[in-house]
């Protein structure tokens, strides 16, 4: 299963992620 997020944000929005990274629910993924 997969969860896809699509959202509008200011153009200077940055993901704090790396491809292939494991994440936990509630972990920050962007600023």
């Amino acid at each position: 299963s997969t969860v896809v997020l699509v959202f509008e944000a200011p153009s200077n929005f940055k993901f704090t992620l790396e491809q292939g990274q494991k994440v936990k629910m509630g972990q920050a993924i962007g600023t």
Binding site: V3, V4, L5, V6, A9, F13, Q21, A28, I29
Partner: protein
């Protein structure tokens, strides 16, 4: 022949009633068969627009009755396991798929009657602290891809994209056979002027929207320890500000996600492995205005298949939740897979996924959540609040 024709006496007799009824039934049967054939032919036309393409592995998978297999898998895993076998069986599953049994809410493995119940297990309180950030991960999992949506296309893997409009149901192909279902307010978790937050504490929406000086006064129940109460009170103040902001944001019309000046559209794809916690939570404070349920195929969504199968996320069954957050358009899309075909949304009891009668044609049914809160224009969900989950089969 001549004499027979000439001399045979014509004898009129009434037709038996049963024969007449049988004849009418036969006519009706032919009419129904013809109508169903025409309907299936029409669905086939739509289906051809969503054809799986890729190497031979994709064609092998496409030839399999994945939806039937998924339902069979779900039914099999719903069979209760003898109590004495449960600990060993679930430990074996956990060892194979890397489940962390220490963070389960109910640690007694005998309490889970079958694998489906174990798969949909809850986590203990505090196992997943919600970060103080505007956007958090909705689930446990592996980040498959993320980035900016360019020219209304989302990158599936490097160099291969799928259409954002097809994913959300904005294109002409997927608008066929839309069935607009009126959202039943009785099934919503939210009353018009009041909602319960994830901790089970009720607040008046008027207070949350700032009509009252102190929203915390409306807390009807608090946790037993002072620290927990203090933390909840701080969060309620934050939610109050956020709800004021969300109430002020105008619904984005047809949700065609035209971004405001200075904004862009972003996407992130998180893959849940079989051993992961399979409930998903709200990644932000936002208002869900509608959902679209696409009855689709149930291909595997493992990283291996993501690389093989083009348009995978557009082909598969999915539930598109759309609404608004502080920056504008927001959407969360749980996508099903062969082993987890059933998607549950906690505040939408009418939703039924992976049903035999729904053909995998790429069409969708749409439900509006506006009746959940007239002021907010939808169902408000807080960051970290459980929204739903994936069931086996």
């Amino acid at each position: 022949l001549f004499s027979a024709w000439k001399d045979t006496k014509v004898k009129w007799t009434p037709i038996p009633v049963g024969l007449g009824i049988g004849f009418l039934c036969f006519l009706q049967y032919r009419r129904v068969v013809k109508r169903e054939r025409e309907r299936l032919d029409g669905d086939e036309v739509v289906r051809r627009k969503y054809v799986a393409s890729g190497p031979w592995q994709v064609h092998v998978a496409a030839a399999l009755p994945l939806r039937s297999m998924s339902r069979l898998w779900g039914a099999f895993n719903s069979i209760n396991i003898p109590e004495f076998l449960r600990p060993a069986g679930f430990k074996l599953y956990s060892w194979i798929f890397g489940c962390n049994l220490d963070e389960m809410k109910v640690k007694d493995l005998k309490a889970y009657p079958n694998l489906s119940a174990f798969f949909y297990r809850e986590l203990e309180e505090g196992a997943r602290p919600v970060a103080d950030a505007p956007l958090v991960s909705p689930s446990d999992g592996k980040v498959l891809h993320f980035g900016v949506v360019e020219e209304r296309n989302i990158e599936q893997i490097k160099g291969v994209t799928y259409s954002l409009d097809a994913l959300l149901g904005m294109d002409n192909n997927s608008t066929r056979a839309i069935e607009n279902v009126r959202f039943d307010p009785n099934t919503a978790a939210v009353e018009e002027e009041e909602f319960a937050n994830v901790n089970g504490i009720n607040y008046s929406l008027d207070d949350m929207l700032g009509s009252s000086d102190n929203a915390v006064k409306t807390v009807s129940s608090v946790g037993p320890d002072g620290l927990a109460r203090e933390a909840k009170d701080e969060r309620s103040n934050m939610e109050s500000e956020e709800l004021v902001r969300l109430a002020d944001i105008e619904p984005s019309g047809d949700l065609s996600h035209r971004t405001k000046p200075g904004n862009s559209l972003f996407f992130a794809v998180i893959y849940l492995a079989p051993g992961d916690y399979h409930r998903f939570h709200s990644p932000a404070d936002w208002v869900v205005q509608m959902r679209r349920h696409f009855a689709g195929e149930l291909f595997s969504v493992s990283p291996y298949f993501v690389k093989l199968l083009e348009n995978l996320f557009v082909l598969n069954e999915r539930v598109v939740l759309m609404g608004k957050w502080r920056h504008g358009f927001f959407s969360m899309i749980p996508v099903g897979a062969t082993n987890v075909g059933s998607i549950k949304i906690n505040f939408d009891e009418a939703l039924r996924t992976n049903r035999k009668e729904d053909l995998a044609t790429g069409t969708y049914t749409e439900v509006s959540y506006k009746s959940a809160s007239k002021r907010l224009g939808g169902k408000p969900v807080c960051r970290g609040e459980e929204v739903g989950g994936f069931y086996l089969g």
